[in-house]
């Protein structure tokens, strides 16, 4: 194993013998991903143009879709990739909504900018809480996150300035002309949705993503390979809080009126679980599909109230028991299709000549680099 230049050979002198290292490259994506990229850019472009040519109602409806996409991606980042099933992401949605109110109305920051501040506030709150919650594991962690959400809800409900339990209207947002507000919120919502997908995508392509997938597959082996469990989970937990915070702020912009019972409602978790379980755990495409399905259901069926939510719960229970990988899991199992290339494929430039009788191996084509 020759000590190749550029690599710090450490404190020992490596005898250079053994097979020379053949040229190689690491393929992150395949040709078809170029088309996926082009298609995505086109879709986002079209979506961005919607406010310019469609009625306002379409725009404001689509804002809800963007919020659902952010929620699904963030919940899946926690539950699908890091194995942290949270039943309390509504805590950060609420902090996002009330953070927007705080910064916009109390500190007179322009609402569109206050949104980023609100999301950061959610992340900052998550930082000290995470180490406490990580002492709990599995189902008890889930209820622990729920307790924190309840704590936030009670605190906000008991502060007079926020209008207490009956809620408040974000005045500085209400003062923006209706058309500008809807369009502004639409574009911010779109940016948040695309941003949430990109955050998860680049996180998974990064070293942190590699560590996360290793933890999910075998925690002990990951630690023995040098992966710091606590740090990886903390990063993901804070990012998910930031994402949910942003989503809560967009909600504030969209609805104008916010109250603890809705911003901190556990239904957000129910919707998130439904989307990820139906769409597919542990991938970027799964929650995206789940969000689309849920959005369509919500637009068509939501008048029935609790029958609708009952139906959602029943579908989620059946899917989680019978087809735990969800729709996209089935697609991957069937065609091994990956729209978002997060895997790494090794492509040997020339077939490696190796001493010994091993049969000449054809170039390890990247085709199966899923």
């Amino acid at each position: 194993m020759s000590a190749s230049p550029g690599l710090d050979a450490g404190d020992r002198e490596a005898a250079s013998k053994g097979p020379s290292i053949p040229a190689f490259r690491v393929a992150r994506s395949k040709r078809m991903h170029v088309y996926v990229l082009i298609a995505s850019v086109i879709i986002v472009g079209v979506l961005a143009s919607v406010p310019l040519w469609s009625q306002l109602s379409t725009s404001s409806n689509l804002i809800t879709l963007f919020e659902l996409v952010v929620l699904a991606q963030m919940w899946n980042l926690l539950g699908g990739f890091a194995g942290l099933v949270s039943v309390g992401q509504q805590a950060y949605i609420g902090i996002g909504a009330y953070g927007l109110w705080l910064l916009a109305d109390e500190f007179h920051v322009h609402p569109f900018i206050a949104l980023a501040g609100a999301a950061t506030l959610a992340a900052l709150v998550a930082l000290p809480i995470a180490p406490l919650l990580f002492r709990l594991r599995g189902g008890y962690f889930a209820i622990g996150t729920w307790v924190f959400a309840e704590i936030m809800r009670i605190i906000v409900s008991n502060i007079q300035a926020t209008g207490g339990g009956s809620g408040t209207t974000i005045m500085s947002v209400a003062s923006i002309p209706f058309k500008t507000r809807i369009h502004g919120t639409y574009w911010i919502g779109l940016a948040a949705a695309v941003g949430s997908i990109l955050i998860v995508y680049f996180l998974l392509r990064s070293k942190i993503g590699l560590g996360l997938t290793a933890i999910r597959d075998n925690e002990l082996a990951a630690q023995s390979s040098g992966v710091n469990l606590f740090r990886s989970k903390l990063i993901v937990f804070v990012i998910a809080a930031f994402g949910c915070g942003a989503m809560g702020a967009v909600l504030g912009l969209q609805l104008l009126f916010i109250q603890p019972a809705s911003s901190f409602s556990v239904n957000w978790t129910a919707f998130a679980i439904f989307m990820v379980v139906i769409g597919g755990f542990g991938s970027i495409e799964g929650p995206l599909i789940g969000a689309l399905i849920f959005f369509v259901l919500q637009q068509t069926l939501s008048q029935q109230g609790s029958t609708y939510v009952l139906l959602l719960g029943a579908i989620a229970v059946v899917m989680a028991t019978v087809a735990p990988r969800g729709i996209w899991g089935w697609v991957v199992a069937r065609w091994d299709l990956h729209l978002f290339p997060v895997r790494r494929g090794l492509v040997m430039e020339s077939p490696p000549e190796r001493a010994g009788p091993a049969a000449p191996s054809e170039a390890a084509a990247a085709s199966d680099a899923s």
């Binding site: 039943v87 889930a142 209820i143 307790v147 379980v277």
Partner: protein
């Protein structure tokens, strides 16, 4: 108001929380599964009792006993028919499924009974109290609930330690595969454990329904209180859940007295977080589950 009375009220309230907590601890102890629908199942029992009293015109006592028997069956079928299939390598599945169950129960009850709050009437007992001194009086009903909690826990302790089935529960909890080699069918044991857990949570649900009003959305609060009592009590011991419940009850009652009605529950949560930070394995940590 003298403080002794308040603390006493808190202690007695702890008995109610222990009734909710002991079933959660049992299910986790035997099969390492946390049932997020645990609180809702207790409220389901309250509604069943309510239906038996109102439409079947059964006296409350008989309605309660029938409900508890019914919940035993529901627990067995629920575990054997559904939850056993979610147990396995991926431990996120039972959490998601039981959360889905919680959504189903809440909305099912909303459809069946609407959202208005209800109460179970237990007659004069509810506000009778024992006058110990001119300042100190204990309500009969909260005392009865506390005694019921102690009785349930004692019965469960006896069951686990003295009976053949109870030993099978503990053996399965220690080493599931070795228990299988002794001729113990885990699927049956898990279903029985869930059935027993639902008996205890039904007693809690009915006791709560008599004490205060309840509606389909009350379930999750009871799950959270049960969870906090289990964690503070230490995840290994049945009696620990009673102590955890008492600490929670006292914290809530004192909090409400000191900071005002809205802040009582919050004080309970605050004490819970404190215990989690300082002594993560709880007071009675016999078996610390990693």
């Amino acid at each position: 108001m003298n403080w002794v009375n308040i603390v006493l009220q808190g202690i007695l309230l702890g008995g109610l929380y222990a009734l909710f907590a002991v079933g959660l601890a049992l299910v986790f102890g035997v099969m390492r599964m946390v049932n997020l629908a645990h609180g809702d199942l207790g409220i389901l029992a309250a509604f069943i009792a309510l239906a038996l009293v109102q439409s079947a015109h059964l006296p409350l006592l008989w309605a309660s006993l029938l409900t508890i028997a019914l919940m035993f069956g529901i627990g067995y079928v629920l575990q054997r028919g559904l939850l056993n299939f979610t147990l396995g390598s991926d431990d996120t599945r039972p959490i998601v499924v039981t959360f889905g169950l919680s959504i189903i129960i809440q909305n099912g009850l909303l459809l069946g009974f609407s959202a208005d709050s209800r109460g179970l009437d237990a007659g004069a007992i509810e506000n009778a109290s024992i006058h110990i001194s001119n300042q100190l009086a204990i309500g009969w009903y909260p005392l009865l609930v506390f005694i019921a909690a102690v009785a349930v826990i004692a019965a469960l302790q006896l069951f686990l330690n003295r009976t053949k089935l109870g030993r099978a529960f503990r053996a399965t909890s220690d080493d599931r595969e070795a228990a299988e080699l002794m001729g113990i069918d885990n699927r049956h044991i898990y279903a029985l454990a869930m059935a027993v857990a639902l008996v205890t949570v039904s007693i809690g649900g009915i006791a709560l329904a008599i004490r205060t009003t309840f509606d389909p959305s009350t379930g999750p609060f009871n799950l959270i209180f049960a969870f906090e009592a289990v964690i503070m009590g230490g995840m290994g011991s049945v009696w620990g859940t009673l102590l955890g419940g008492i600490v929670l009850g006292v914290a809530q009652v004192l909090g409400a007295q000191v900071f005002g009605a809205g802040w009582g529950i919050l004080c309970g949560h605050a004490v819970f977080l404190l215990v989690l930070a300082l002594r993560p394995s709880g007071f009675f940590a016999r078996t610390v589950t990693t």
